[in-house]
């Protein structure tokens, strides 16, 4: 099984044990995807982690965009902006960097 900085990940690069997450792991995952994490990235990652801690699931897209609008300004509260931060999608790439399980379903 593959690992990132010693933490085991699944076929798609998501952490197996969510407790393994660290900022360094997020940085390394981003580096492997050619993304460099800005303050805005961290804002999103931190929100994802807070939400997950409360609800044990990633936030719905609309919940995420509304939260980002509140934190960063209305012009940034949309999925186009989030895709500019996370080209593979805020749900899939953002959650991976944040150490959350991959949201799967008819999405």
């Amino acid at each position: 099984m593959a690992d990132i900085l010693g933490a085991k990940v699944d076929e798609e690069g998501f952490l197996i044990d969510l407790g393994d997450w660290s900022k360094e792991i997020a940085e390394q995952m981003a580096k492997d995807d050619d993304v460099s994490l800005s303050e805005e990235h961290w804002d999103v990652i931190n929100f994802l982690r807070e939400y997950f801690e409360e609800y044990q699931i990633a936030p719905a897209v609309r919940v995420l965009t509304k939260a980002i609008a509140k934190r960063m300004g209305k012009d940034k509260g949309n999925s186009k902006y989030l895709y500019s931060l996370f080209p593979y999608g805020p749900g899939k790439q953002g959650c991976r960097f944040a150490g959350l399980p991959k949201p799967t379903g008819c999405i």
Binding site: Q56, T104, I107
Partner: protein
């Protein structure tokens, strides 16, 4: 991270492609592990005596489902199906011809269950189920979206989907399951929906939505009741409607329609999923377990109507199977089904599709629209395969094609159909149905979308179509991923109820419009 592959070039006309043998060979989608297999009652890894287990299962299935044996026996290799599969047209792999896909199963069936196949296997194309064959099964039965387009053109009506479902069930019982479907089913059977949205998250998401609508409509309090006992309608909708875009705008549309009708309705946190992947993996038992959650919710909440949101295969399961699976509709005779039968109001269709409901309100003049709100759109409708080829709406011949189009035309001024051979009963699958909507199958999803994209490109060029409407969560997600690969705007895919939502005139404005009209008169 993602395997590189060529994106098909859209041809002016669809033609039978030149064969490229083996181009879609591979290991198939990610395999399920013990963690996801065991809760469904399947072994966690390939069992030692897998050949015997598989052959026994085939024997059981062919006896249980007589249709399966008829499909396996009756093919005459006429070739009518060969160029009807979107995955074949998009990939050029001959093993994606429906007859070739069926023959993976048929050749093993012949070897073990027919006289000629047992004694003269080579003469009749009978083959052993060895490791190579099993790998081919796993790979190519996960390149079938069970859309049943081929069966429309088969003179014998052979249903490849049913063979593909049987093959996947055999694979599951020998311990080779698909991660995507089985992981999701685990969540649906424990938490209540495919996404694994627990009740508090669902409740908060719905509250957020109520706030948003109130803001957007300038104070109309559209509600999203959850677990409201005694409501008239229980809405069963795909959980993607709560979570993803563009789905959520459809959910906003449902809420506005309920609000305008003034009916009491509710969602259930216990049965918060319309999708039923038990059908995709061919397991009657798993499909029934998922359906029974809905029956329990309907009984507990004491509703008199059960309604289904925009989800393609959910409507197939609901319309065609719920009656005997769980007693919604007439058929099942067990104690709980009878109780539900007594509880439901049979003046309404049970179950009823949200499109039937909205259509009925429109016909009775209960909804008022400002169609010009959609004037920036020229819309076309994508018939989702399970709705188109396995269900009906409105109780009239072809109602499943007519009703959604009539709803769209009631709320939009500009509507155009795609080419006749690509819609209605001949519709091309979006490319992501049947349990294929997973990143590890992106290559076949993109290639399989080609025929639909080709028809869409034509109406874009000829008629200026800029909006693609659908009534299936899988179609919506698949299109938002594949549209940009073919140079379309990924945001052109919308729910039919999003179009309704944009044009509907809500309470307050309705009064203003009427007043203005009076003044004008």
């Amino acid at each position: 991270m993602v395997k590189e592959f060529d994106i098909p070039v859209l041809p002016t006309y669809l033609e039978t492609p030149k064969l490229k043998e083996g181009v879609m060979d591979g290991e198939g989608p990610f395999k399920s592990t013990q963690e996801f297999q065991n809760p469904l009652g399947f072994p966690g890894e390939k069992v030692d005596n897998w050949q015997k287990v598989a052959i026994d299962k085939i024997g059981e299935l062919k006896s249980k489902y007589r249709s399966l044996q008829v499909f396996l026996d009756s093919c005459v290799k006429c070739g009518a199906c060969t160029d009807k599969c979107h995955y074949f047209l998009g990939s050029s792999d001959p093993k994606n011809m429906p007859v070739a896909r069926q023959d993976l199963f048929r050749s093993v069936y012949r070897r073990h269950f027919t006289f000629a196949g047992k004694y003269f296997p080579k003469l009749v194309g009978a083959k052993e189920l060895d490791n190579d064959m099993l790998d081919d099964w796993y790979n190519y039965f996960h390149q079938c979206s069970q859309c049943r387009r081929c069966s429309v053109f088969c003179p014998y009506g052979i249903d490849t989907a049913e063979i593909s479902m049987a093959a996947r069930e055999v694979l599951d019982v020998v311990g080779i399951g698909q991660k995507y479907c089985n992981q999701i089913l685990g969540k649906a059977l424990t938490i209540g929906n495919n996404l694994g949205l627990p009740e508090p998250a669902l409740r908060d998401t719905l509250l957020d939505l109520e706030e948003e609508i109130e803001e957007e409509t300038g104070g109309v309090a559209v509600k999203y009741p959850l677990d409201q006992k005694g409501a008239e309608i229980l809405l069963i909708t795909p959980s993607a409607d709560f979570f993803a875009e563009p789905h959520i705008d459809g959910l906003i549309g449902y809420g506005k329609v309920f609000h305008q009708d003034g009916v009491s309705w509710t969602l259930s946190s216990y049965a918060s999923e319309g999708a039923n992947f038990g059908m995709f993996i061919g397991s009657y038992d798993v499909m029934r377990k998922a359906a029974l959650r809905i029956r329990k919710a309907a009984l507990d909440l004491e509703v008199s109507r059960v309604m289904v949101g925009e989800c393609g295969h959910a409507w197939r399961v609901a319309y065609s199977f719920w009656n005997t699976l769980s007693g919604v509709g007439v058929g099942a005779a067990d104690e709980f089904s009878k109780k539900l039968q007594d509880q439901l109001d049979h003046r309404y269709p049970q179950p009823q599709h949200i499109i039937e409901y909205t259509h009925d309100l429109i016909q009775r003049g209960k909804l008022v629209f400002d169609k010009s709100a959609n004037d920036d759109r020229t819309v076309t409708f994508h018939d989702s395969c399970n709705v188109a080829r396995a269900t009906n709406m409105g109780g009239i011949l072809g109602g499943q094609f007519i009703l959604p189009r009539e709803v769209i035309k009631a709320v939009c001024n500009n509507y155009v159909d795609m080419e006749r051979s690509t819609i209605k009963e001949s519709t091309f699958c979006c490319g992501g149905g049947g349990g294929l909507l997973t990143d590890d199958l992106m290559e076949i999803r993109v290639k399989g979308a080609m025929p639909r994209m080709q028809a869409l490109k034509t109406v874009e060029k000829d008629n200026g179509v800029n909006t693609l409407a659908a009534i299936c969560a899988i179609c919506k997600s698949q299109f938002s991923k594949v549209l940009p690969k073919f140079d379309f705007d990924p945001y052109m895919i919308v729910s039919v109820h999003q179009l309704v939502s944009e044009a509907i005139i809500m309470d307050k404005r309705k009064i203003e419009v009427q007043e203005n009209k009076l003044e004008a008169d």
